[in-house]
């Protein structure tokens, strides 16, 4: 009897979900669009995404990464929509928010659909059913039912954790509650049934600060630069105000963040019976980066420490090994030669207030399109001991000189001995 009840309950939930999905789909179809980036040379689409209408003047919300090619090369691409009734038309870019991966585009046609999605007043409760809409792999518009699982922790770039599958092409599509009100925008997936959405507040912020007058094509880079500059300012203010405490790693004490801003992982080779040295690692990083175009990410932070010691090596052999361990450091973010300059480095032997003497190497590269933003790479290794030492390393992507210098001072100054 109990089983029967359970089975009935399951059936009714499924039935309800199915019904809502059907209703939603038929009701809002005309406010959903496929967004295509058309390459002018071939006249064919080079990438696709989804978008949804948010007012009666034909303004659509989508992801920045859907239209990023157009933003970077407006002379090589144009944006096009495909509506539910099969009509195709031009879209113009209204505004972008690269930090939250959002963009506003507008239908350039006279017979705009008057259907549009309204934004929900607040986020649903954890565990509520929500529905993701979009056009995966160019297969046509679909509805994916899933669960709202709160704002993802460990994140500076806020995302809603959505349990349900989001696939390529659904990017930019809306996620709605059973009443059909938008709570987020599809943005990314982390594999099986784990999806991420841009939360409601970010959409609202972008819409509210706009009167929907389009920014001109030659202003795109300047807008991005301003957004990146403001974002790194906020990020580093937050980092500086977070609580840092000293944690032990081998014979050293390393600064670690107590809050959930960075996600951290550890590793060691202590299980390796044959190793003649001990290596203990601690790596922390910001989970998300800001996508600018196919070959350029920024806004990331990585912090790594490695403790090395050996009873067997002796000073000369240890320092040979130690020197090898700090060579070959590489940038933390993707960037190409049109985006950034080559690295330039400065090195010195530096002692901090805790008697930690390090060989410190600071390297920078500048962004070609965004003045006064840099990628910073630091690598340091302690010189106090005969056959043990700490390697400290960080990379910061897209930061100002001020942020970089303050962070470096704090970082190098904080390392101590036990």
């Amino acid at each position: 009897m109990r089983y029967l009840f359970f089975a009935l309950a399951l059936y009714s939930v499924m039935g309800f979900a199915q019904q809502t999905a059907q209703n939603l789909f038929s009701h809002y179809q005309s406010a959903l669009y496929q967004i295509r980036i058309i390459e002018l040379g071939s006249g064919n689409k080079s990438s696709i995404g989804s978008g949804f209408q948010i007012n009666d003047s034909g303004v659509l919300v989508t992801n920045y990464h859907v239209v990023s090619e157009y933003v970077y090369f407006p002379e090589k691409y144009r944006i096009e929509y495909l509506a539910a009734d099969g009509t195709v038309g031009e879209l113009s870019l209204v505004n972008i928010d690269v930090v939250n991966d959002l963009a506003l585009v507008q239908v350039q046609s006279d017979n705009k659909s008057t259907d549009f999605f309204s934004l929900s007043a607040q986020l649903p409760e954890q565990g509520s059913s929500i529905y993701s809409l979009g056009n995966p792999h160019d297969l046509g518009m679909i509805v994916v039912p899933g669960t709202f699982n709160g704002i993802k922790k460990n994140s500076f770039y806020q995302r809603i954790h959505f349990t349900g599958s989001i696939n390529p092409g659904m990017s930019g599509g809306p996620v709605v509650n059973p009443e059909g009100e938008v709570v987020g925008v599809n943005v990314a997936t982390a594999g099986n049934q784990i999806g991420f959405l841009v939360p409601l507040t970010k959409i609202r912020a972008l819409i509210s600060m706009n009167d929907f007058t389009p920014i001109s094509a030659n202003e795109y880079k300047r807008v991005i630069a301003t957004q990146l500059m403001d974002n790194q300012q906020r990020l580093f203010e937050r980092l500086e105000h977070e609580e840092w405490k000293l944690n032990e790693l081998g014979g050293a004490k390393i600064p670690t963040l107590t809050g959930p801003l960075l996600s951290c992982w550890g590793d060691s080779n202590s299980a390796d019976q044959e190793a003649l040295y001990l290596s203990v690692e601690n790596r922390c990083s910001l989970d998300e980066e800001i996508f600018l175009h196919g070959g350029l990410r920024t806004g990331g932070i990585e912090i790594e420490f490695e403790w090395l010691e050996s009873d067997e090596f002796g000073a000369h052999r240890f320092y040979d090994f130690f020197s090898g361990s700090i060579s070959g450091a590489s940038a933390g973010n993707h960037a190409g030669k049109n985006d950034v300059s080559n690295y330039q480095c400065k090195q010195d032997i530096v002692a901090n207030n805790h008697d930690v003497k390090t060989k410190s190497i600071l390297c920078l590269r500048a962004y070609k399109e965004f003045p006064h933003l840099y990628d910073v790479l630091y690598i340091g290794a302690t010189l106090n001991h005969e056959s043990q030492g700490l390697i400290s390393h960080f990379t910061l992507a897209g930061v100002s000189q001020g942020s970089a210098m303050r962070f470096t001072k704090q970082f190098v100054g904080a390392i101590a001995w036990q």
Binding site: E274, L276, Y277, A315, H316, R317, F318, Y319, D320, F321, F322, S323, G324, I326, S327, G328, A329, S330, A331, A335, G336, K337, S341, N342, Y343, Q344, C345, K346, Q347, D348, I349, V350, A351, N352, N353, K357, K359, I361, L362, C363, L364, R365, A366, K368, P371, H372, Y374, L377, I379, A381, L383, N384, H385, E386, Q401, M405, T408, K409, V412, G413
Partner: protein, 328 residues
């Protein structure tokens, strides 16, 4: 007076000297000839060479041979011969030596030869060889991060040394061919000594670049010093292998040094301006006993790095203005 002939190799090197205290000689393959040459293309009586008793001029006369006689590549039945004329009989070449001309002055015996005598002691060479083996094993040891077994490494090191031996052996062979003396022991001593100096320089460079923050000019100084040592090594190898004038030896060693150094430098310069996601920095660290440089404090280090930001900004500004000019 006498008729003097030189038997030449294909490369014009003197193989044999013949001096005849006669005013007329007969050259041929027959047993009664004054100069008998084993060459199947030479006739039994091939050519007569005469010296005039008054003016000492030399003339020749072909004895109607099958293949004839060539003087400086010209087929002639008879005629006068000058000093340095080359006669070709069959496949054999003979040079007529002008006995009236003075020979070139003697090369002064080099003081260096005496002072480098110790290099030719086999004891020294064996000691240097063993010392180099030990040095390369020690190097391999400090570079290893896994358990080190001397007997595992020995074949590898000896193999490398065998490869390196190609250099002294090549010079020894050339010495043997051109100079009748290989001096292989000295050649080996030079090789190991040079390698010792290279390794010493490498250590010195590590010490300097660590304590002076890898200054940019260092690489060029280093290159110059390495090139000089290489030059000296080649010079000495030539010195032992050939008898030649200092001028010629300097020239040959300079050319050989350039041939070795230029490709290495240009290969390392190749692509150094290309875009790379990896910064180029010097990662050398040395144990505390080699640390002479006083440490700067964190603030100074970070404030000094401010110049990197301005340098990059200026670099980009100049690059973009160059771009604009190119577009115009």
């Amino acid at each position: 007076m006498a008729i003097v002939l030189e038997l030449l190799s294909r490369k014009d090197q003197t193989l044999k000297y013949f001096k005849f205290n006669k005013s007329e000689i007969l050259v041929g393959r027959d047993h009664h000839c004054d100069l008998r040459l084993e060459d199947p293309y030479i006739s039994a009586e091939h050519v007569r060479i005469k010296q005039d008793s008054e003016d000492h001029t030399i003339s020749f006369e072909d004895c109607d041979t099958v293949n004839g006689t060539l003087v400086n590549k010209q087929l002639l039945p008879s005629g006068q011969l000058q000093g340095n004329d080359i006669l070709k009989l069959g496949r054999t070449r003979l040079k007529v030596v002008n006995t009236n001309q003075p020979v070139s002055a003697a090369l002064p015996l080099s003081q260096l030869e005496e002072s480098l005598n110790w290099l030719s002691h086999s004891g020294v060479a064996i000691l240097l060889t063993l010392a180099y083996l030990v040095l390369s094993m020690v190097l391999e040891f400090t570079n290893s991060v896994v358990a080190y077994n001397v007997f595992d490494m020995l074949p590898k090191e000896m193999g490398q040394m065998a490869l390196l031996s190609a250099w002294p052996i090549a010079f020894a062979i050339m010495g043997k061919v051109f100079n009748k003396e290989s001096r292989v022991v000295s050649q080996f001593s030079i090789l190991w000594l040079t390698l010792f100096i290279f390794y010493g320089l490498y250590l010195l460079e590590k010490l300097v670049s660590f304590n002076f923050n890898a200054p940019e000019g260092l690489i060029w100084v280093e290159l110059m010093v390495y090139a000089l040592v290489l030059f000296a090594c080649i010079w000495l190898s030539l010195f032992f292998a050939f008898h030649q004038t200092n001028k010629r030896r300097n020239l040959v060693s300079s050319m050989m040094t350039l041939v070795i150094v230029v490709p290495i430098v240009s290969l390392s310069m190749l692509g150094s301006n290309d875009f790379s996601a990896k910064p180029a920095y010097n990662s050398i660290m040395l144990p505390p006993i080699y640390q002479f440089r006083p440490a700067s404090d964190v603030n100074t280090f970070v404030e000094n790095s401010a110049s990197l930001f301005t340098e990059l900004d200026e670099h980009l500004a100049s690059e973009s203005s160059a771009q604009k000019n190119a577009d115009d």
